[in-house]
């Protein structure tokens, strides 16, 4: 901070799970659409209905818990969190309460903020609950309620206290790494702008070296990584100023206004005991045997960190390349899939992070929205590796693939772009160029080495760049020698 204060940040992250159906009924999940069209008596809280948990959602949380190095309890139950608010038709939210009852507890996630030492952020719990409906404020008066989202499986991941995160940069890095891990696990689409991943940090400041933590505020409505960082920065500054003026920081929930970049106080909520948590009698307890947990652990996909290490160690990629290829799920999957077709990793990496990235940048397209597939890149790299095409032709063929979706080997065949390595043909072309350029040829013979470039260039020009330049040069030297 540089101001004689230090900040502490706890992170509460809500993640909508990528299941096909809701948590306790089999209504489909989805985003948008006509209101109240993905609802049934269970998620509308009609009397006499019986909820049944989604097996897939439970497994996704166990997976996440293990990937976050958490303990998974033998027994875990759902609780009712009771409060009246129209976004919940039942009068309670099904959630999980307690220190060691949630599906995951006492874990950690390693973060590596730029230019700093790696740091472990301790995780307090990973639990499963249900999302709420959406309130829509209508101009005609009254609030409209859409229950399409009510009951969607929601995973909550909370960091431990005392907080390990001490500034906005670390908070953002934590969120970036957590989201990436969740995408690798395939448990969410992670879309912050659609609310699939929501972050509510709680923030406090205290004088440097103080033994106790300051009063914390919770920040809501952060819809992007940038908002998370800006919001925390603002809140830290606001609290320091209050303390400097001798005012107390109030324990409250504040909202973040993205256009004014200012936080504002929100409705104060009930205190924890007011929620009157109790085990939900409608939902049977979950039991996780050691075998179940081990089976899930064995099936865990490779983590972003492990993949980064593997790319450096086994594929010989640089830190930079390995970072680019693992830090976005679309790139990671694209590279893995092309690599699986048996091509040279370094060449593939260069063509992917070089020309492919440039074309995507220029067109403003994401790789998944372009016509390029991993097979296009693998096909291209295979031809470069075998010497079938040179890199100049490869560039043209890649651009064609990007524009039309044509398979590179098809373009090479149909347009006759294959590299000419035929010895007889090269011998003839070289002899012709020497005969047509007696001056430069004589200069080379009398020791002017650099003229070879011009002579080779003439052969390349005559063959539209398709001759193998190394072979041409070799033959040129032989004939002039």
């Amino acid at each position: 901070m540089g101001s004689g204060y230090e900040a502490s940040v706890g992170m509460e992250v809500h993640v909508e799970l990528a299941t096909k159906t809701k948590m306790f009924c089999r209504c489909p999940t989805g985003f948008g659409g006509e209101p109240n069209t993905r609802v049934c008596p269970v998620c509308l809280g009609h009397p006499g209905t019986l909820p049944v948990p989604n097996r897939e959602a439970v497994e996704m949380v166990v997976k996440t818990a293990l990937a976050l190095n958490c303990q998974v309890p033998t027994d875990s139950v759902f609780h009712r969190k009771n409060y009246f608010y129209p976004d919940l038709p039942k009068g309670y939210q099904v959630s999980q309460y307690g220190e060691t009852n949630p599906i995951g507890y006492h874990g950690w996630l390693e973060i590596r903020p730029k230019g700093r030492e790696p740091k472990r952020v301790k995780i307090r719990r990973v639990h499963l609950e249900e999302d709420t409906g959406k309130l829509i404020h209508t101009a005609e008066g009254g609030s409209g309620v859409d229950y399409n989202r009510a009951g969607v499986p929601l995973m909550e991941i909370v960091t431990d206290f005392p907080p390990d995160i001490t500034d906005p940069e670390e908070a953002k890095e934590y969120l970036v790494q957590l989201r990436l891990l969740l995408l690798y696990l395939g448990v969410t689409d992670g879309k912050m702008e659609e609310g699939s991943l929501r972050c509510e940090p709680n923030i406090s400041v205290r004088p440097l070296g103080a033994a106790t933590y300051g009063t914390k505020t919770e920040l809501k409505n952060l819809n992007s990584f940038k908002s998370v960082q800006l919001g925390i920065e603002y809140e830290v500054g606001r609290q320091i100023q209050a303390l400097e003026r001798g005012e107390a920081v109030l324990q409250e929930t504040r909202g973040w206004n993205e256009s004014t970049l200012i936080s504002y106080p929100m409705r104060t909520k009930e205190t924890e005991s007011d929620y009157r948590y109790f085990a939900c009698p409608d939902l049977a307890p979950m039991r996780f045997t050691a075998e179940t947990v081990e089976r899930v652990r064995e099936d865990l996909p490779e983590s972003p960190r492990a993949r980064f290490d593997r790319y450096r160690r086994d594929l010989g990629l640089s830190d930079y390349d390995a970072g680019v290829l693992t830090s976005e799920i679309e790139w990671a999957e694209f590279f893995e899939s092309a690599l699986g077709q048996g091509v040279d990793p370094k060449l593939l990496c260069n063509w992917l992070t070089g020309d492919t990235a440039r074309m995507l940048n220029e067109s403003g397209l994401a790789i998944r929205d372009s016509q390029l597939t991993p097979s296009h890149l693998a096909d291209l790299v295979r031809m470069i590796e075998s010497g079938e095409i040179n890199s100049k032709v490869a560039k043209e063929v890649l651009e064609e693939a990007f524009k039309s979706g044509a398979m590179p080997s098809e373009t090479v065949r149909s347009q006759g772009l294959a590299q000419i390595s035929d010895d007889g043909f090269i011998v003839e072309e070289v002899a012709r160029v020497i005969a047509e350029n007696p001056g430069p040829s004589e200069q080379f013979r009398s020791g002017k080495e650099q003229v070879i470039g011009f002579l080779v260039g003439q052969v390349m020009k005559a063959t539209q760049g398709r001759a193998n330049p190394a072979k041409v040069q070799e033959e040129m030297r032989r004939q002039l020698g």
Binding site: T19, K20, T21, C25, R26, C27, P28, E34, P35, N36, T37, R38, V39, C40, P41, C43, L44, V52, P53, N54, R55, E56, A57, V58, V77, N82, Y83, F84, Y85, P86, L135, I136, H137, T138, E140, G141, G142, S143, G144, V145, D146, Y147, G255, Y264, M266, R267, E270, D274, R276, A279, P281, L283, A284, P285, M286, R287
Partner: protein
């Protein structure tokens, strides 16, 4: 252990119940007799038993993640007092 009148007011507010003084007093009496009953239960020695949250011996009652047809919009809204544009309408909620 007994419940104060203020505590009755508090839980009534959490339950969104509007009670007059006479009702508050009546509920105080009823809640206190319920608490008395709980105290009786607490005197039972359960030292040999492990705590449990459910009376039934079921675990892992889970369903497959396969969508089924729910209610269509008009049917979903049929029981609502006020609706507009496919939404349930409730008295204005002031969030900020």
């Amino acid at each position: 252990m007994s419940i104060t009148l203020d505590e009755v007011r508090h839980v009534a507010r959490l339950a969104r119940l509007e009670l007059d003084e006479a009702e508050l007093l009546a509920f105080q009496g009823e809640l206190n007799s319920l608490l008395g009953r709980c105290q009786e239960l607490q005197s039972i020695d359960v030292g040999e038993l492990s705590p449990r949250t459910h009376a039934v011996a079921l675990t892992n009652v889970l369903a497959d993640d396969t969508p089924t047809q729910g209610l269509d919009q008009s049917l979903a809204l049929r029981g609502a007092a006020v609706t507009r544009a496919g939404l349930f309408v409730v008295p204005t909620i002031i969030e900020e």
